[in-house]
């Protein structure tokens, strides 16, 4: 039972043209940089990517867009990306925009074996078009389905050889949810330690959800909005 892979190229093997992939991260924070680079090199296409955002022009999922690897993007917010806009307006790219909480909860539902959830997000808006509406206690909710994705690719701070993961700060975001939701889950970590080194009380994603793990290298961790204050 070896879950440890030597690098990103080995870890993304089996991802094929047409695969549906969940990609962790919020903006450029907590994204699986190594796996994205490996996928770009692999050059698979016709992918359906589910991720909160679509990266920026020259980083994150933006790198996959440049290579026209993405057929459909499912996200909550896709700003900050001129190439995305160009492909969308040209009809080269499909996009499905869904509320951020719905995106998160549909991942969790998949990981928890819940086939569908009810959420009030989007009731009375175009997001509700064609969806079942149900009233509970006087409030309307939309029925939304669990994601069904071939692969989940996530980035964690620390991981162990059994696939247990610990995330850091707001780089956690969608990562543990997507880790639970993939049929095959690939985790890249900044630090990979032997089983037993992580405190079992502090593990965010139990290894049962993780099929492949490897130590990532050369993290750029690009900051989108560097905001600082001057005063002491």
């Amino acid at each position: 039972m070896n879950k440890v892979f030597s690098n990103a190229h080995a870890a993304v093997s089996g991802i094929k043209n047409g695969s549906t992939i969940l990609l962790g991260g919020f903006g450029l924070c907590g994204i699986p940089e190594n796996c994205i680079a490996a996928l770009v090199e692999l050059g698979v296409n016709n992918l359906t990517c589910i991720s909160n955002n679509a990266g920026v022009d020259d980083f994150g999922i933006g790198l996959m867009l440049q290579k026209k690897m993405v057929k459909k993007m499912i996200a909550s917010y896709v700003g900050e990306n001129a190439e995305f806009e160009r492909q969308l307006l040209n009809g080269e790219l499909e996009v499905e925009l869904i509320p951020q909480g719905t995106l998160a909860t549909r991942c969790m539902a998949a990981g928890y074996g819940l086939p569908a959830i009810f959420t009030p997000a989007g009731v009375g808006t175009e997001v509700a078009n064609g969806k079942e509406i149900r009233n509970f206690n006087g409030k309307d909710y939309l029925l939304e389905y669990a994601f069904d994705a071939d692969f989940a690719i996530v980035k964690a701070w620390r991981g162990d050889t059994m696939g247990n993961l610990i995330f850091k700060d707001t780089a956690r975001n969608f990562n543990p949810l997507m880790a639970m939701a993939g049929k095959t889950t690939i985790a890249e970590v900044e630090e990979l330690v032997p089983a037993g080194e992580l405190d079992p009380n502090q593990i965010h994603t139990p290894g049962i959800y993780v099929h492949r793990i490897f130590k990532g290298v050369q993290y750029e961790k690009r900051i989108e909005q560097r905001t600082v204050r001057k005063e002491a």
């Binding site: 450029l28 509320p99 951020q100 909480g101 969790m108 175009e126 997001v127 700060d169 905001t227």
Partner: protein
Amino acid sequence: MALDKFQIAKRIAQDLKDGFYVNLGIGIPTLVANYIPAGVNVILQSENGLLGMGPFPMEGDENPDLINAGKQTITTLPGSSFFDSAMSFGMIRAGKVDLTVLGAMEVSERGDIANWKIPGKMVKGMGGAMDLVASAKNIIVAMMHTNPKGESKLLPDCTLPLTGVACVKKIVTELAYFEISDNGFVLLERAPGVSIDEIKAKTAGRLIVKGEIPEMVL
């Protein structure tokens, strides 16, 4: 005289109560954090997975793993906690966040809000806005009273695609402070020196003016 964006934020900050958990949207709402009254402790929620958002970091202390929902580098405070996006929107949906402050393009007299999409323009997405407006028990909109063309943003019905229905509780613009009632926009306060006539002229939706309307005290 009409308020500037800082004064709008300051007026909203007066509504904060000690112990409130608050989610502040991008733009004017973010400024509210700068005017929290003395003696009032509020905990800021960032929907990407943080309770207890602190100020921007000092130069050189930026942590790329620590950003807010606007993707800005931030800091934590004593008592902060991190969590995943499902729990973040879970606590929002469950009504645990006491106050949400958002910007808007349009608000209807029933409290419908439009703030995510303009037909004909590239749609960037709703992010967490639809979850927030569908769930928050107390939503204050911070916005300019009119759009760049001078048209009222307080309407009988929104003309833009909706973000949520019947959810906005209060609105603060550069001209006034309103509460949404079943019958329309109830004028609660005027910006200092702004006349009721001006507010009436710039409010396209049904405006309710009852008794004397005090000026804001900022």
